[in-house]
């Protein structure tokens, strides 16, 4: 009991943290724990982009940016602690990079009037902005991923998947279970046979799953994995001599970390993406001059140009553009979280805008609206070349099965609305 009192003294000091006169983009990162290999490059990319904006443009609209970090370790309890402590610093938008933490923060951020951006993860039906007013998941979501993979396979097979067998190897958590419903519907629509193969956290042991795959002999394997599970799966696939070009990972299973461990055996492995790969974009020259050469690179500075670094960079770019939009709408430079939400809802990314930012063709162009918080779900496919150790885009950003996904989203968001007594409306 006495320990509790001392703890309060500690907490009192914490509560007195200064209010920053910056645009605050908190980074809920994980540089430790079982998923650190994925968390580090994302956090580095996110931080470096804002550092570059500060050095090159003097912030956004004349206001400097700040990126306070908080280590979640991909753990929901620490995520709660991080959210509460970062909230005191006046964060504009939260990007938890964890589906579990996202589920927790959806109601909390809505109650606190702070937007959350879950880019390519989180709750898919948050695309329906009338129900999920403060959650955004543009430019693509898990169900777009599932449909994008099937569309790609359809194109490869001349539009016919009848009688094919497709297995889904997934992380047995909220994240991995997301695409099951979509794939089940798609299998009924296109006539392929769908098999689920769950892998428990953290996924270091997958012998039995791949034995099952060897026995079932699916034509294609789709993977929704994260962290060490990806490496192990690719290694196991190589061990049973599963053809790599028939193995497609979602965007969270398609980084350098996942394929490098398997060496040459990973050659030809494919992964979905919603943004460009490689460092062949003008913006990287600016990052080199203003961030790396100035000695301000986040982390070890060795991640630049990797897939997940680019994703962090892309998330930062979208957040910065949304902040600009919010500044235009409200006519103030020092926006607050509520105004940031309006900016995100009015965000429009065009080809010209991306080219002006030094990121030509980096991602799809899309427009966010109140009804659509998820963009247009354009999904591309990348392939790993083990000899040059590079990912390359082999199929350009293409549309997904909008009709089917929108139906599922309407159904799931309606269920959420009725559970939580939300009347769908535009804010």
């Amino acid at each position: 009991m006495t320990l509790k009192l001392t703890s309060m003294a500690v907490a009192a000091v914490m509560a007195a943290s200064p209010v920053l006169a910056d645009l605050v983009f908190p980074s809920m990162s994980y540089r430790t724990g079982p998923y650190a290999a994925g968390g580090i490059p994302f956090a580095d990319g996110y931080a470096d982009y804002f550092t570059m904006l500060n050095a090159r443009d003097g912030g956004i609209g004349g206001v400097m940016t700040a990126v306070p970090e908080c280590e979640t370790g991909y753990n929901t309890e620490k995520g709660v602690e991080c959210y509460e402590s970062l909230k005191g610093g006046g964060g504009l938008v939260y990007q938890p990079l964890s589906t579990g933490i996202t589920y927790q923060l959806i109601p909390k951020t809505t109650a606190d009037d702070i937007p959350m951006h879950t880019m390519g993860y989180g709750r898919t039906s948050a695309k329906n902005g009338e129900v999920f007013t403060h959650t955004f998941n543009y430019p693509a979501n898990y169900w777009d991923g599932a449909s994008g993979a099937i569309n790609y396979l359809l194109a490869e097979n001349g539009g016919d998947l009848n009688g094919k067998k497709i297995a889904l190897v997934y992380h047995n958590s909220a994240y991995g279970k997301e695409p099951i419903r979509t794939l089940t519907e798609l299998s009924a629509k296109h006539g392929f046979e769908f098999k689920e193969v769950p892998v428990d956290h953290p996924g270091q042991e997958q012998k039995s799953q791949w034995l099952q795959i060897r026995r079932d002999k699916p034509d294609y394997v789709i993977m929704y994995g994260w962290g060490v599970m990806n490496q192990v799966a690719i290694q196991e696939a190589a061990n049973i001599r599963f053809p790599m070009e028939n193995f497609i990972g979602v965007w969270w299973s398609g980084s350098e970390n996942d394929v490098l461990a398997a060496g040459d055996a990973a050659n030809g492995y494919k992964a979905l993406t919603f943004h460009g790969v490689g460092s062949d974009f003008p913006v990287f020259a600016d990052i080199q001059t203003h961030v790396v050469d100035a000695g301000n690179a986040a982390g070890a500075g060795d991640q630049i140009g990797t897939v997940l670094y680019n994703r962090g960079l892309y998330a930062a770019m979208l957040a910065a553009e949304a902040a600009k939009t919010a500044q235009e709408i409200h006519g103030v430079a020092q926006i607050n979280a509520s105004q940031m939400r309006d900016g995100m809802e009015a965000l429009e990314i065009t080809e010209e805008k991306m080219a002006a930012l030094g990121l030509p063709n980096f991602g799809p162009s899309f427009k966010v609206s109140c009804q659509n918080h998820g963009g247009d779900g354009m999904v591309g496919v990348t392939q790993w070349d083990a000899s040059t150790k590079t990912w390359s885009l082999i199929s350009d950003f293409a549309a997904t099965d909008k009709e089917l996904i929108d139906g599922l989203i309407a159904e799931d968001s309606a269920a959420y609305a009725s559970e939580n007594n939300i009347t769908p409306e535009c804010k």
Binding site: T2, E69, E71, T76, V80, N172, E419
Partner: protein, 370 residues
């Protein structure tokens, strides 16, 4: 000087047998209760409650429960995470209305329970499950029992991941606590006020500690301790091992279930069984009681405080004061906590509770130690 029983006369047996026989100690206890109930709720914000107080109170209940089983009855258990999951999922089912199916048809649906009774039902269901998994303890002991409870841990987590009935068939397999109130005051959901959730958990913590304290110093507690100290001798003097062990499992699981229910509904609001109630949770609570002190009520609180508050305090010092990189602090945290655990186990194998007891002894003699 302090803690002096001189001049402190007991004139009835009840006075002599109370939990805090020394007047100074008793008043300190009342003062702590007074501050916790009447002062703290007025000086709270979201950060204090959600980051420090709720996890502390909830883990304290879990530690109390496990301490009854391990510390008082001597039955090693590694199933705490699984039992907390039972509490959480029962609470969820009762607060959303339990639906019973037979042959693909909905037989009937219980009305939705109030959040208070949902939490209690979380405890009751866990007590039943605990008794079930306690049965092997009649035949196996020590490490072998630990392995049997480990099986419970993995089985329960697998069950809640596998059977979609437990999470009401949601697509993601997560359970989310809907908004619920008690006397019109919101207890769960995003719009709760800090003081309401704090007092709700504090109520359960105080009642649990009170019940645990009085059970452990009564007949049943003495039976548990007899079993712990030497089960054959206990059996010879007339303690029924079946009853003693199973009641220990039942009471312990009840508290752990309550803490699991609060953990899910009030503290986190949404959980995923593998992530929230994995084997790490079992170890965490076990470390709490080992560090706090086996077989002591105060030790359960001290251990929970140590393992909940220390990481936060280290983070505040490292990141907010010194501005070190977050990953360094996170790694440092592991090092420091691990180091302190070793220091505690070497310097004071009986835990923080023993330190507290020694400090009290010293204070009694102060300022004239002999």
């Amino acid at each position: 000087m302090f803690y002096r029983e001189a001049g402190d006369f007991s004139t009835t047996y009840a006075e002599d047998q109370q939990t805090f026989p020394i007047k100074f100690d008793r008043y300190r206890y009342y003062l702590v209760l007074f501050i916790a109930i009447f002062v703290v709720p007025f000086a709270l914000n979201d950060y204090w409650v959600n980051s420090l107080l709720l996890p502390f109170l909830i883990y304290a209940i879990a530690a109390l429960g496990l301490n009854i089983l391990v510390g008082y009855c001597g039955q090693v258990s590694l199933g705490t995470g699984g039992f907390m999951a039972v509490g959480a999922y029962s609470c969820y089912k009762f607060m959303t209305g339990v639906d019973i199916w037979w042959g693909g048809e909905l037989l009937f649906r219980l009305p939705e329970f109030n959040i208070f009774f949902s939490v209690i039902m979380g405890g009751v269901m866990t007590a039943l499950v605990g008794v079930l998994f306690g049965l092997p303890s009649l035949r196996i002991k020590g490490f072998y029992l630990a392995v049997a409870t480990l099986a419970a841990q993995f089985f329960l987590v697998w069950l809640f991941n596998r059977v979609s009935w437990f999470y009401n068939y949601s697509a993601s397999g997560q359970i989310s606590a809907p908004e619920r109130d008690l006397f019109g005051i919101l207890i769960t959901g995003p719009s709760t006020t800090p003081w309401a959730t704090y007092l709700f958990c504090l109520f359960f913590t105080i009642v649990s500690a009170y019940v645990a304290r009085n059970l452990t110093r009564g007949a049943s507690g003495r039976k548990w301790m007899a079993i712990r100290d030497m089960d054959i001798a206990a059996e010879i003097i007339g303690v029924n091992p079946l009853r003693a062990k199973l009641t220990a499992f039942m009471v312990s699981s009840f508290f752990i279930g309550i803490s699991g229910a609060l953990f899910f509904s009030v503290y986190l609001g949404a959980v995923e069984v593998g992530e929230a109630f994995g084997i790490q949770k079992s170890f965490l609570v076990l470390f709490m009681i080992i560090i706090g002190g086996l077989g002591s009520i105060f030790g359960s609180f001290a251990g929970a405080a140590f393992l909940v508050l220390l990481p936060v305090a280290l983070k505040v010092v490292g990141v907010d004061w010194f501005g070190w990189p977050t990953d360094i602090v996170a790694h440092l945290n592991l090092v420091v906590v691990g180091f302190l655990i070793i220091v505690f186990l070497i310097a004071e194998p009986h835990g923080i509770n023993q330190l507290w007891r020694v400090a009290k002894e010293k204070l009694r003699l102060w300022p004239f130690p002999h």
